[in-house]
Symmetry: C2
Subunit: 589 residues, 2 copies
């Protein structure tokens, strides 16, 4: 028996007990005749004490212990004279009578502390040491608990977890599939799923009624910060449902998760149409933890000979409360330069300071009288001391830029309370998105999303403008400005699905070759159905107020898709390539 107790459970009530614990040496201190060793495991830290006068040999051995040595110690629990009340085991220590070194350790490459001195690359390479640190370990424990609670809720709601296959079919449309050469079928490839979308729909056709799965998905994208080639989804689908049934079910799931892992009651989720989200926040994932809604002023801004506004499709602004005095001209210049950076790309920033003395100070004073600008202030609900920030230009671009500015002002003014969670549903997404460059429609959500019932006739026979305005039964769940999940009611009718593929530029033959199995299934009694998927890694991060998903993944890959610890990917044997009938094309000289 390696231990009678773990390192986190001994209390004052255990004093006098003979115990054995095992764990890692966190640190040790020699204080004259006494040596103290903190021993650590997943559950906590317990102090060992060795007495040179009473047990010289044992104490000498204890003094040789290095950091991260794995040891086993037996002894009597006793009350500490100097208690550490920040630690659950801080009232006791173990007077050691037997000590075994179970394994030695080299000096670890970084400190095993909450704030480590290890850089990112080092932490990734020695991830098995990094996970010993509380912040990373706690994230993994949180993730496990979140998965347990997810399953508990969905099981209770009658969902069945069904494992869908990982070796599926590659679809050129989806792009960015990881492919897997088949040895038994020479020259052919499987693909790893970007999502179990078609399989979960087939499970609805199969009568499974309520499906879920916590499942790995794969996407071979050029990795931006905080993307991983493999990621985890809570994937769900339900039959015989309208949009309300789905929103209620998964709002319930999310509330359950927050309540049972963090004790946070989220209350009812507000709902906002995509159009409103774009109009009021310039984003389909608005952060509602602070206000500063957009105010459009085309009607009062145009016609005053200010050509910048007169020529703009949209003039729109936000009101930043109480910064008129605080923000100097230089601050405003900095902000203007910030918004003009290429990443954001605004041409300029117009501001109107409604000063404490009631006067107006503005960059556009020569075009607009103070009276006019006072009326603007009224429109924005601005009070003395506020500053109105205005952008103008092409509608979509301007909204996007103002969204960035709003978020930046939220950060600069520290409007976000730590521990605050503001969820909402964004609904009524467009069905199709027109891409000017390739002159074709893309699916805003995915090709299986149903238009709103009232839009079906428009979809079957509408002109280009009508098609652009089709609305889908699609929805996203957003928390604190992050998209946590999204889904839709699906098409379950073969003709409608075929029409959608046609609008998306598939030939009949392409649609049949790639998704014939699904359209075929629609001919054998497909029920109305819909669902959604949550980004599980993202959910973990957002719930913990963190922006990066990487530390919620036990063994993440870096931005080049490499696992630094095991050094993958790597070359394979010629023999293996031979078996797969593959040749690697050498780069041209």
């Amino acid at each position: 028996m390696y231990r009678s107790h773990n390192c986190g459970e001994l209390r004052i009530s255990d004093v006098g007990k003979q115990v054995t614990i095992s764990g890692w040496v966190q640190k040790s201190r020699d204080l004259g005749g006494l040596t103290f060793v903190d021993v650590r495991d997943r559950y906590g830290i317990t102090q060992l004490v060795f007495n040179m006068d009473e047990r010289a040999e044992l104490c000498t051995l204890a003094r040789k212990l290095g950091r991260e040595y794995v040891i086993q110690a037996t002894g009597m629990v006793r009350e500490r004279s100097s208690k550490n009340l920040n630690r659950s085991t801080g009232e006791i220590e173990i007077e050691v009578t037997e000590l075994n070194i179970l394994n030695e350790s080299q000096v670890p490459p970084f400190t095993i502390e909450d704030d480590t001195d290890g850089g990112d690359d080092l932490r990734m390479k020695y991830r098995y040491i990094d996970i010993r640190r509380n912040p990373v370990k706690d994230n993994l424990i949180f993730r496990s608990k979140l998965a347990i609670e997810t399953r508990k809720y969905l099981d209770h709601q009658g969902f069945i977890e069904v494992e869908t296959p990982f070796l599926i079919k590659s679809t050129p449309e989806g792009a960015r599939d990881f492919v897997v050469p088949s040895r038994l079928n020479s020259g052919q490839f499987y693909a790893l799923p970007q999502s179990p979308q078609t399989f979960k729909q087939l499970l609805m056709v199969a009568g499974i009624d309520k499906y879920f799965q916590i499942v790995k998905c794969f996407r071979d994208e050029d990795l931006r910060a905080d993307r991983q080639p493999e990621f985890t989804q809570i994937d769900c689908e339900m039959s015989f449902v309208h949009i309300e049934d789905i929103l209620n079910t998964f709002e319930g799931l999310t509330r359950h998760l927050f309540l049972h892992t963090m004790g946070v009651d989220l209350g009812d989720f507000p709902r906002m149409t995509y159009d409103d989200a774009m109009r009021l926040y310039g984003s389909d994932k608005p952060d509602l933890r602070f206000g500063m809604q957009f105010v459009e002023i085309n009607d009062i801004a145009k016609g005053h000979d200010f050509s910048v506004f007169d020529n703009a499709e949209l003039v729109v602004g936000i009101c930043a409360k109480g910064i008129a005095e605080q923000y100097s001209n230089k601050d405003m210049k900095d902000l203007t330069e910030w918004i003009q950076r290429p990443q954001i790309g605004a041409k300029g920033l117009v501001y109107i300071k409604y000063q404490e003395d009631g006067s107006i100070k503005s960059t556009i004073g020569k075009f607009y009288s103070d009276d006019v600008l006072h009326s603007w202030a009224e429109r924005f609900g601005a009070e003395k001391g506020d500053v109105i920030l205005i952008l103008s230009g092409e509608k979509d671009k301007t909204r996007k830029q103002l969204n960035e500015l709003r978020l930046e002002m939220g950060r600069r003014l520290q409007l976000i309370k730590p521990g605050d969670f503001k969820p909402l549903w964004v609904i009524d997404f467009p069905l199709l998105e027109w891409d000017e460059d390739s002159e074709r429609f893309f699916a805003m959500h995915h090709p299986f999303t149903s238009p709103k019932k009232s839009d079906i006739p428009n979809m079957m026979s509408g002109d280009h403008e009508t098609l652009k305005n089709l609305k889908a039964d699609a929805y996203d769940m957003v928390i604190n400005g992050a998209e946590i999940g999204g889904g839709s009611i699906r098409i379950h009718d073969r003709a409608l699905q075929a029409k959608n593929f046609e609008l998306l530029g598939f030939t009949k033959e392409q649609a049949e070759a790639q998704f014939g199995f699904l359209m075929g299934a629609f001919e054998y009694g497909a029920p109305p159905h819909g669902g959604l998927a949550f980004g599980f890694d993202r959910l973990c991060a957002v719930m913990n107020g963190q922006s990066s998903i990487r530390d919620f993944i036990a063994f993440p890959k870096n931005n080049q898709g490499r696992d630094m610890m095991i050094d993958a990917p790597s070359p394979v044997d010629e023999a293996q390539l031979e078996e797969l009938s593959l040749i690697i094309k050498q780069p041209e000289a």
Copy 2:
């Protein structure tokens, strides 16, 4: 709202209620003025009734419904005049006042009945229809419940579920890796894990203490019957444990699963050494649902001038109870031919009939006196009416053949009670297995398995014979003759791991290139640890008394590794190969 109730929940107490249900048309019958339609969903079947006299239009519509049409019906629940007590909803029916056809269906390619007329290929191609059948649907529900109970038990025991990566490193040693070309790292490949073995060991080094995962694994083998290229494991690992801790924990898990999904109490599991299992059953996965243990008779069989036995390394038999009268000479001849089939390959079968009248009838009467044969009967514990079946030859081969014969006799004599479960642990496996053909050692379990502590000195310096006899801290769980899971205490010492790689024929460089990250981790405080993995698909099948895992997998592949439904694997675009820097080698003409 598509439904107020599902098709399995209405009871006599609901009579008089206005309800709406949705589902699939199972069948319909016209009886004069009445039309009855059975509508089915995951939860059950409910009878609808339409009355031609009262609602002619509705009844006419109902008569047009085809099998598997998806419908929605609203009406009043009423008591049936002719009740069907085999069905939970059999006391009521719904008198329909509103009927919507939600989707039509072509005539399904096979019947949606417990015993279908669909062949295997058809069922695989239309798996989404096959899953509507109760036996397949119930299997998937069982599997989901088994996963829930697995997680419940392990969570309660303090295990954390940690997701390990799917895109890992290919190891030539492991062979049969599926590989995944990396686009971002040209000419390099990931591999899909055959198991998360090294990662779970790293999690122990990381201090996770108790890890589990229900996880897909991949093996690109030539597919024998009932193998799948992707399969699911319950994968577990624990730190600071001896073999007893692991056996107790997972015996506990297995008992929990049987109790909470089937109401079966398995009791304590017997333990049997590998040597005993081979000696008494000729198999490392003995089926204990019936007796017929092997009896070795070298000492009494040799020295009677019967050269077949005299020249045999092993003479061994089993006693088949009470078949002396029943089994004619022809039956014995059939049995002899069965055992001589090339799949089994015994040279011949010696039998001794201990007849009801006390006389002995045998194929070897001219070598052995009746007295001698009576003494054999005593050794076998044979009574009047029994038949002793004896094989002889090289030890390992003979045991294997007699194992086949024992299992065949168990089947022929119907010794296996349906619903009987006989679990056991097989322990003390050999560490290494000598392969005569390649003249090298293979790891009996895997290269990370620890020898028994007492065998470490023998391993570090033993000669060939000593090495062959090394015992490992390895164990298998066997139920009803099927291996459900297996595992071992792992090596956690770099030098011992290096020695094991050396014995397995790795050069130092190969060991470093492939498993350097693991041996490196052993230098930073690796705790003693061990674990096991259960075959989840197999466990599902064995618990349900079935021999094939395929119907416990929602979307299985066929014996050529193909998904018949989606038609994968398949060729990929030239452009995609180009991006991956791959060329497909055409077969030579």
